[in-house]
């Protein structure tokens, strides 16, 4: 297996968001990979990604909650922390039952400094 090199994975179907997050965090010194769907995210996890997952809720086919459920079903949650990155002001009821797996919640449009600070903060939670 080729281990995926990255600290952060941005998972968002919107290319503009993927590019913006990747630019902000790369400029801050983080290694960032981008996935355009929940399915691609799962594949990166199966390939060994370990780090902070910035996960969009509203995605076609497999939304953020479906993606978390798939991660749990595959036992891929042990080396990641999940931060939801979303345009919604407050999460929907689909979060109930999954909230212990979501360590934080950032609302788009996000503040760049807050994004950088929180990503650095949560990287400390990744098992070595």
């Amino acid at each position: 297996m080729n281990e995926i090199k990255g600290d952060i994975m941005i998972v968002d179907d919107d290319a503009h968001v993927r590019i913006a997050v990747r630019t902000i965090l790369s400029d801050a010194g983080f290694n960032v990979i981008a996935a355009s769907s929940g399915k691609e995210c799962i594949n990166f996890l199966k390939d060994g990604f370990s780090g902070v997952l910035l996960l969009d809720i509203m995605m076609p086919e497999m939304d953020g909650w479906d993606t978390i459920s798939a991660i749990l079903e595959s036992g891929l949650e042990k080396r990641i922390v999940i931060v939801m990155l979303t345009a919604k002001n407050n999460p929907d009821s689909k979060m109930i039952g999954l909230q212990e797996y979501v360590i934080d919640y950032l609302t788009k449009p996000f503040d760049n400094e807050e994004l950088i600070e929180k990503v650095g903060f949560f990287l400390r939670y990744i098992p070595k």
């Binding site: 949650e77 042990k78 909230q99 934080d104 919640y105 929180k118 939670y125």
Partner: protein
């Protein structure tokens, strides 16, 4: 004994570290019920321990509650207090979709003249903690909800506020000061 019980979910680890950073040794027992996956309990404990002079302990079955320490509820079990002094772990069904649920801890608290209890609900999804704070207030405890405007997710503190039994609605810095002045 002075006892502080803090319930927290999504957004909580970041806010808790802000509240507890540089905490002096206080003559109070602090219990933290944070919704977390089991693999992160020890990491969470280590980060809290690095911030404060208080000893930080992951609770085991029959652990005694003592002043001057911070107690972390282990992920995967509900946490109860027997006679406000001895911890009991309970592996029954999740409540509000979570285990531990801080409602279970707060509802196990008894009115005892020798104890002063403070309950605090921070950010999180759902309504865990609301029933527990209602109970705590009815038996004479002090109740605090994080100001929803400062919460990444508002529903847990909002549900607590809607019980009508909340003494203070505070931001994290004010919560920190309240705990220190309570000790």
């Amino acid at each position: 004994m002075k006892i502080v019980i803090i319930g927290s979910s999504t957004g909580g680890p970041y806010i808790l570290e802000k509240i507890l950073a540089g905490f002096p040794l206080l003559k109070v027992a602090i219990i933290i019920v944070q919704h977390l996956p089991p693999t992160f309990t020890r990491t969470f404990r280590n980060h809290i321990a690095a911030l404060t002079q208080m000893e930080v302990i992951i609770i085991n079955e029959n652990s005694p509650l003592t002043e001057g320490k911070i107690f972390i509820a282990p992920a995967g079990s509900h946490l109860l207090l027997e006679k406000n002094r001895i911890f009991k772990l309970d592996n029954n069904e999740k409540i509000h979709g979570v285990r531990p649920a801080v409602d279970m801890t707060l509802l196990s608290i008894q009115k005892r003249t020798e104890d002063k209890i403070m309950g605090i609900i921070l950010t999180g999804m759902g309504r865990d903690g609301a029933n527990g704070l209602y109970h705590l207030h009815k038996i004479g405890g002090i109740t605090i909800a994080q100001d929803p405007l400062t919460s990444p997710i508002k529903s847990m503190p909002q549900a607590a506020i809607e019980t009508g039994e909340i003494d203070h609605i505070l931001n994290p810095e004010q919560i920190r000061e309240k705990i220190i002045s309570f000790s």
